[in-house]
Symmetry: C2
DNA sequence: TGCTTATTTGGTTATATTGCCAAATAGACA
DNA sequence: TGTCTATTTGGCAATATAACCAAATAAGCA
């Protein structure tokens, strides 16, 4: 694998890695529905605000979400909706696994 | 976030996490084109065979790839082709970021 | 059986991630 | 200005990941 190819896969992996966490997936899913501030997300997720803030900064740093300051609050929203398509395929993988399990039981 | 919701996002994250590594992305990309044994992949990637073997086991454990033993070799192939769709969106994110950069320069 | 090749697994070390608390920063408003 | 709220950042401890080498396993063949 040459330098350029390697750089390409590293760049891709960085974006996918940002999505590879349950809390961040939940956040992305929710931000697709509505702009939300950190404090609300923190309550929904059930984690410290500092923790949620870091999750948001990870998603923002790779360009998946955007922030918007409104007074003392920061509202985040989904910038690239196509990431939602990921879920469809992920469900397909899960379904395929479940079916394989069923085969064994039957 | 209740127990069931949490479990759902954890299951999804596990699958995405398996893809969140440059070497594994390269492997998935290549296995989409042709069945390949560990030894060849190891050379292509430029990493120890044991390292590649572990990457493959991670992808296999979440059901993205499948293995097939042929004599002393083990050939792997892509089981769920829709993961390739991920790349399209990932490129879109990268493009969106690049355009934002261009805006700043212009 | 004994040898060779392909692969996996155990062990170890280095690095990265995660989550919380506490402290710093930023904006709104009295 | 001082205070309050929302958010981010520094520091730390616990855990997870990644890579390599070496050893174990599995399959084919002399």
């Amino acid at each position: 694998m040459n330098r350029k190819t390697k750089a390409k896969y590293e760049a891709r992996a960085a974006i996918i890695k940002a999505l590879a966490h349950p809390t961040r997936l939940f956040i992305v899913d929710h931000l697709a529905k509505e702009k939300t501030c950190v404090c609300i997300l923190s309550k929904m997720v059930g984690a410290d605000m500092s923790t949620v803030s870091r999750h948001l900064s990870i998603l923002k740093s790779v360009g998946i979400i955007e922030d918007e300051k409104v007074g003392p609050q920061v509202f985040y929203h989904l910038k690239v909706p196509c990431v939602l398509n990921f879920f469809g395929c992920v469900e397909a993988v899960m379904k395929s696994n479940a079916e394989a399990q069923m085969e064994l039981v039957r």
